[in-house]
């Protein structure tokens, strides 16, 4: 032991246990966390689908009809079915965590978690109905 020991504020590297890349499959809570985080991939993909439709809309009726025909094919229908599940999981987990992310106080009292969650779900319902009212042809 001739070398002087180096002191760091962290644990020395050789004391760290190696963790498998699949650590999140070890418990259902970890798996839920990773599934929740991966909903963002479907969120981004659907944002791109909206953008794709808008570009076709800008290019003209023929381009837009081609996009609609593509959306009617089984791969795209399957993608949207799966994406809907992930996006719904995102919505539910997001609303349920809302009281933890933002603590509201009214008159010195903490607004109950249930109330904040309820307001989120009510806004979700109202906005969904408004979008459907505008988009669906009657």
């Amino acid at each position: 032991m001739s070398a002087a020991p180096r002191y760091t504020t962290y644990h020395p590297r050789w004391y760290r246990r190696r963790v498998s890349v699949w650590w999140w499959l070890e418990s259902s809570a970890y798996t839920g966390f990773v599934v929740r985080e991966s909903t963002s991939v479907f969120v981004a993909l659907f944002a791109l689908v909206i953008l794709w439709q808008l570009r076709a809309l800008a290019q003209g009726p023929e381009a837009y009809a081609r996009v609609l025909a593509r959306l009617h094919t089984p791969p795209w229908l399957a993608f949207h079915a799966v994406a809907l599940l992930f996006v719904l999981f995102h919505s539910v987990t997001w609303f349920n965590l809302a009281p933890k992310a933002m603590v509201l106080r009214l008159g010195g009292k903490k607004v109950p978690d249930r109330l904040i969650q309820g307001m989120n779900y009510a806004a979700w319902l109202a906005l969904s109905a408004a979008v459907a009212f505008i988009l669906v042809r009657r």
């Binding site: 991966s38 969120v43 995102h90």
Partner: protein
């Protein structure tokens, strides 16, 4: 990543997450399933052009595309760090994620301006 940027990026993550949570399920259900499968009547090309010509609609669509992209960038970035243990690629992953969101935002802005 400069430290001063972190709260701003977290704000974009949070706002984008809320926009996606409130509005993506209905848009996805309508344009991805209900309209292609004929469960509900899709709007015509002309009515959509009229709708999109309104500045408020285009502002709505800009927010609807851009903020969720930044939400993805932030969340995906940290999922890559923790999930795949890629901490040594921190800078590269951050640039790729936020860069992709920026490119998407620019394309969305350009497209929406051309739809006036």
């Amino acid at each position: 990543m400069p430290r001063t940027l972190t709260p701003f990026l977290w704000l974009l993550f949070s706002a984008g997450g809320t926009v996606a949570a409130l509005l993506f399920p209905v848009h996805l259900f309508l344009t991805g399933l209900a309209f292609p499968l004929g469960w509900l009547h899709a709007p015509s090309y002309d009515s959509l052009r009229t709708l999109v010509a309104h500045p408020l609609t285009r502002l709505y669509l800009f927010v609807l595309i851009s903020l969720p992209l930044f939400h993805w960038a932030h969340r995906f970035r940290y999922t890559l760090y923790d999930g795949l243990q890629l901490k040594h690629l921190t800078a590269l992953i951050a640039v790729l994620c936020y860069g992709a969101a920026l490119v998407g935002t620019a394309v969305a802005a350009y497209t929406l301006l051309s739809l006036s």
